[in-house]
Amino acid sequence: MPEALVTLSLRVNGDDVRVAVRPSQTLLEVLRVGLELTGTKQGCDKGDCGACTVLLDGEPVLACLTLAVTCEGRVVQTVESLTREDPLVDAFDCHGAGQCGFCTPGMLMTAKGLLAKHGRPSRETIKQAISGNLCRCTGYGPIVEAIAAAGEGRRGKKDEEPLPAPLPSWEAPKP
């Protein structure tokens, strides 16, 4: 028997959305397939890798272990809500805190949740907080440094890095 669909209302990245879901569907599936928010990644679909981390009412959760129907009326934030100007995102680029970037969206959302709670987390606290987010490329060192830098309001290692160049405005030359 195919499952009956239920309508789910939630707030995603600032937008109120209504979406039809099956009761067995995970938040991850609804985000990636239903809402086409593919920034959130699936690395295991079993709660073991952290690639699917999003913020649910401000708390980092694993979207692959969260049933979509439990999110009725709640606030979800995915990596699509961040921008390149975000000091945390910028610190990741400055520190080389990602290589393939597949773990990075989840890592960023965990870090967002952490920074919202502790303004300036210690490196030990950061390591604890991201210990559920697996990264196979970096060895974690640059990730810890990037989050620490963002917490301290720095971008680069000593703040020597210029800001990302703003996208320039442009006017067509007169013929």
């Binding site: 970037g101 597949f102 060895g139």
Partner: protein
Amino acid sequence: MSGLIGKAGRRGDLVQRALGSTRFTDDLHLPRMLHGKTLRCPHPHARIARVDASKALAMPGVAAVITGKDLPERFGIIPWTPDEHPLALEIARFVGDGVAAVAAADERTAAKACEAIEVVYEVLPSAVELDTAITKPEIGLGAKRQDNVSKAVDLAFGDVDAELAASEVVLEGDFHFEGTAHVPIEPHCAIAQVDAAGLLTVWSTTQVPHYLHRELSRVLRLSPARIRVIQPPLGGAFGGKSEPFGHEFTAAKLAMITGRPVKFLMTREEEFYLHRGRHPMRLSFKVGARADGTLTGIDARTQIDGGAYSSFGLVTTYYSGQLLTLPTTAKSYRFSSTRYFTNKPPCGPKRGHGSVQPRFAFEVMLDRLAERLKLDPIELRRRNAVAADSKTINGMRVTSNGNLECLAKVEAASGWKERRGKLGFGRGLGVASSAYISGTNYPIYPNEMAQSAVQLKVDRSGVVTVFNGASELGQGTDMLLATIVADELGLPLDCVRVVSADTDLCPVDLGAYSSRGTFMNGNACLAAARQVKAKLIAAVAAKLEVPEDAVFVTRGALCVKGREGDAVPVDEAIKLAEARFGALGAVGSYKTPPKLGGEYRGGTIGASPAYSFSAHVAEVQVDVETGVVDVVNVWCAHDCGKALLPTQVIGQLDGSVYMGVAEAIFEEHLISPSGLHRGPNLLDYRIPTSLDVPAIHSMIVESMDPEGPLGAKEAGEGPLHSSIPAVANAIYDAVGIRLSRLPFSPGRVLEALQQRGRG
């Protein structure tokens, strides 16, 4: 050169990936797309007597089911050993071998349909363990069914027996490595689509789009002109995506049958069965030396557990011996390596293909020799170092060589002289050094064409597009090419776009394996960029009426020597050049110089246009109560020729050390006697978290390779090799035990400590 090369700082390519605008393969969703699932064999070795898919086909939502008979052609990455079928044809050779594949409206339906397929298996005698494969040749997993041998290589250089007989010291040692997996966070995924004109397009998480193109054509019996392979950016690979996989063919076949796009996404469990991870090996080493520390002979015998199929096994077997003659050498060398088939998930290349396991054995032997000879282990390596601009004992040409500088760097940074042996019981330092290829001159299938090529398209808007066949896995090749072009032409980085790994758009590159990207792709790109640069210079010189050699490129403009005020912006120069020469573009290619290797059968395997060098010192703290080894620090110095993108290079060193240390202390790919994986998930097969990693101190050494692009060599695989033996040697320094079996888990450490206590 205009100042972009060699700058540390921003990675520059992370934001799109980080924020979700990069589309990885599984992020692609095509209209009317079906989802595929594979039914896998539950037995390690079985004849498939009957497959009945009628119940599955009758299920609502199921579009098609195929079995081995629908794709009878064999494939394999090495053209001499094609022994895989997309779905097992008659015989399945390991638990997890594909038997049938379904395309259905969604993944759940496809999975249910797989369960509804009825298969009758006749279970065959199997060799799951390496020992069984060796002692029971009658199981007949080999090509001629007479034994279980996949490949045997015996090579000797110099008179090993005579040298060892005349040595003051000869030590023997046995070593055991049980295998590890790549575990990229992105699982394998493939999507296939056939358009109305009959063009098959396959998007896949592959490191070898060109080889996939060839094999798709062969297996599907379709002209390569009717196939397009696109490799989206990868979420990590580490060698685990460097050959064709069954699901790439089944996706294509099901798309051809149904006329609809079909996607296969592997589950994490399937990842562990597809495997192609680092080969289990048993190694026996005999190494001799004179009293002054001169190494006289190395005699190595290695048994390799290949798993069910050939994969790169021919190369693995050679690499297990051929890559051991650098950076430390002996007067004579002999190795005998045999790869056996077993009924396990197939093994393949993982970061440091074939050479990580023997490196572990050899570097531990060197540590033991140094102790016996009362020499500092670093000094022993110095005394036997291969020189720059020389030839190895097995005939490999060596050019740039930063080995001694790497050793000096880790010696100084770790406080080796002051601290080693003086840290108290439980804490210790260990050293190891290694070398690796920067690409190989062996092109997998024999041909005289370029190994890498790049095409540049120059636009009037001041944008240059690099079309390149190479594969971006996260290691940074796209950024490397963009930087080379921007630097040569004086363009801002964001005015260079890179289009990669699309067989319709890009010239052929053989793929991201053997650490060939920077060296081969970089050289191809540099050659193309320099042609465009010459045209820009010619056009500017003509316009300003000055000789061409007076014009040079700076950031943003072309200038005239002595007349800096006359700068012509690069986008203006592009227009001038287009007016003068017509449409602007260029192609560049790279091919290794001929005759790099030794003059014997197999002498080209392991021959590289350049070698990278690494040295590591590890510091460990061993808890004698629990047996837990805590790797506290690793100092890693790596000679990459020239660090074109230092942030990316440091990232490769950090990542290599991380991966190597994990293999030293806890990763182990275990298959039970029934052929089942012991824990095909990320909880049981534990990879390090942020709480498990040492402090990694990565240091760059630059030897300026004469043939590398702007002096560069590889950095992605070499720096892993020394991690494992450095940890092993540090454990000895800490608590006086020699562990011969990896990983150095608490149980093994405790057992060795107890034995030492008794002994």
